[in-house]
Each structure stands twice: as C-alpha cells, then as structure tokens.
Amino acid sequence: MMKKLIIIDSGSANLNSVYKAVRAADLNPVVSDNPKNIKSATALIFPGVGSFYHAASEIRKKGLDGAIVEAVSSGKPFLGICLGMQLLLSGSEEVFGSDQPLTGLDLIPGFAKRFPDHLTVPHVGWNIAKPEKPSLLFSGLEEGDYFYFTHSYYVLPSEQNHTLAKTDYGQKFCSAVQCNNLYGVQFHPEKSGLAGLRLISNFGKIIADQQ
C-alpha cells in the first residue's frame, strides 16, 4: 500500500509550520481537509490552534470528525498537536459565547480544563515534558526535554494509562497522551527546535514500523 501521511487542515491551525517541520524530519506529508483523503491515509497528523469551540465546529462542518474516528479506530498512527490533542478528549471547559455543549471526539476519555487563575495564563514558553512510560514517540527524549507550549487549557485523561508525559506548571499536568496508535502532545513539536523535530521523526519511525 502506498504510504500517505496526511496533515489534517482543520481550518484553525498554522499548517505551514507543521508542514515544514514534518518535511524537515524527512517525511512526505500532504495537507488535506477532505474526509475521503483522510480515510485513505496511512497515518495522520492533526494540528490545532485557537478556540476549542471553533475547531470542534469546523471539523464537524467539514465532516472530518467521522473520518478521524474511523482512522484511529482502524489502527492508523495518529498524532494530535495542541488543540488537535484536546479535541481527542470528551470535551472542554472552554466556552466561547455559546450554550451548546462542547464535545470533543471522545477518543480519549477526559476533559480539558483551564489553568487556575493564580498562574500566568496562557502557559507560554519552553517547559520540560517528561515521559512517564516507555514510548517510541519519546525515543531519545526519555530524560525530559524542553518543548514549546502555548495554551490556556490542559487535559485530564480519565484513565491514568492514557497519560504519556507530564509537565510542571503550578502542578504536574498531562502534556502528552497515548492510546495504542493514537498520540497527542500539548506542546508544539514544530516550534520546539531540535527536540521537536526528533519527536516528529520518531512518529515517522512509528509509521514505518506499522507497515
């Protein structure tokens, strides 16, 4: 089967940065917002920046929600970035002037919660993400490396074993998730210098191993 790595265009991400970083990690991505393409991909990267509500509506408008759930359920390697990770959860506390319930894709049970007020919010800058268990995604990064974060909400997976890495900000929060072939990182690997490129490259190895 022809390998096809797709970067999902959810309409709310800085795709160029992600695309360029994935290329720099020696992979060959294609950007798409077409559910048919997503269904036929062999692996997916799902970046997201902005408001949970806006992104959640956009992916449903474009019919991407079904395609993403199907891809993950069929075992394809999947990497959610920042908001792209938060959307994998059940929902978010974030409200953006609407009474509608805010639901995520519910692939990882749990919710996104806002950082407490006594901290400077958003959490912006370089912080250490340290993996809690062995994972191919953090190969070469096991000791904990600095990655770039910029977010006001953090995720609380309901299941302990879905937490892949933690970061210290006020208290330890979950900065990466994993459920089999499904990965998510709160930080931006495309903005995290060498450590970020290494992580993306590791995802590339995960894709290669899948074949």
């Binding site: 800085n14 940065s17 020696d26 919010v121």
Partner: protein
Amino acid sequence: MLAKRIIPCLDVRDGRVVKGTRFVNIRDAGDPVERAGFYSREGADELVFLDITASVEKRRAIVDVVRKTADAVFIPLTVGGGINSTDFMQELLQSGADKVSLNTAALEHPRLIEEGAKQFGSQCIVVAIDARRVNKQANFFRSASDLCWEVYSHGGRTPTGRDVIEWVTEAEKLGAGEILLTSMDADGTLDGYDLELLAAVTSTVKIPVIASGGAGKLEHLYEALTKGGAHAVLAASILHFGTYSIADLKNYLSKRGLPIRPADHQGYSDLREEK
C-alpha cells in the same frame, strides 16, 4: 519548570535586517533568514521580526521573509510592524509566523485585538507598548502611585495621552495573549530596564510580559526577570553589537538560578545523519 525566554529582535526593512537605534544610523546587517537561523542555533527561544519598512510594498517583502524563515527555523516567530488588519494577520500567520505584534493599530482601533484573538486565538496576539515616564503633575493620569508612564504610538513618536496601566489592562481584557513592553527612557541606553515600569505592568496583568529596552549588562536581564517580574526579555542592542552571545546570556542567567532552556548542541542536519 517554565523557562525564562531570551528573544532576539531583528529590525527588518525591505526584506533586509537593519541595525540602528530607532530610525537613526541605519545600516544593513544581513539576510533575515540567515540571521534567524544563526540565532536559533545559538539558542534563541523565540524570534521577533519588526518590520520598519516605510513603503506600501511592505506587505510582500515581510511575508516572503516569514515564509523563507519558516523553512529553516523551528522556534516561534513573532512579526510586528504596521499590522492593522486581520487579513494581514492571517497572511502572516499562514506564511509561518506564530504570533503577530500589534502596536499603533491597536491603540487606534482596540477592537483589532479582540478580532484577532477571536479569529486566531489569544496566543497569536502580542500587544506591543512603548511607554515613557511622565511627571505626576500631568493631571490627566489617574495613577494612584507616584510613577506614571504615558503610552506612545507610531514608533515612539506620538504621545497618546494614555496611561500605560490603563492601556495594558484594556489590552488584556480585549484578548491580548502577551505584552511586549518597551521603556522609551531606557531603550538604547544600555543602562538597564525601567524596572518600576516593568513591575507596575507585571503586577497588573495576568498574561506574560516580555521586557524590552535598556539591557546593556547581563545583570540587567536578571533584574528584569526577577525584580521586574518579566517572563521573557527581548534582546536587541545587547546581542547586535557583538558584546555578548546568547550562550553568554543563558549561562549567566542559569548560574544565577533562573530556569533557562539550554541551547541545542546539535544542528538539524545532525538529526538526519543519525538515521
């Protein structure tokens, strides 16, 4: 722990880096993409491009610079200089900028902050503020303390009659993700930041504040990040004149106990060779 950030700032005009203090003694200082790569390898945590191009053609040149920089550099990039519409913000963000910095346009149309935050997210919106100390006797300032600062627009040329504390509070309310604060009194002096200004602002807002203006010695950076309460420092003169490297800054701050992200020891090409 969240690290303190060192952010080199490059003034760009017509697609070239220029060196000079506020429009005086401007000299060509190289290709912005090359400079960005250099600073990134040296350990910069982020980069700022400030576009000081005067002409109408400015849009094309900076967008092109951003696009090329995004090809080679993988740390956050903020672009500022004459940004006055969400269309332009979108163009820059889609070309590879991670944040846009608003100054004069935000003062003239504060709604722009709100619109930008709504469309792209607060984390993409930096509000840059230039402020100068004023005499308390200037009675249009409502400041309760002895010290007041007036906000200036148009590259520090036009007094706005607004109090910095009042404006920074409004900017935060409208959705600014970060504040880039420049002391006009200290800028270019190499004598240290205006720590009172910094402390006044960092104790007012809950969003991160990047300190700018006045750093000449390593000690100054330390003061800004501790006494001043800043989360990051913009580095221009202190780096451009070759006195210090980013490693010098980071080693010093780290030795003094601040959380600092170490520079990458390898290059991006080394990563490929590992495979």
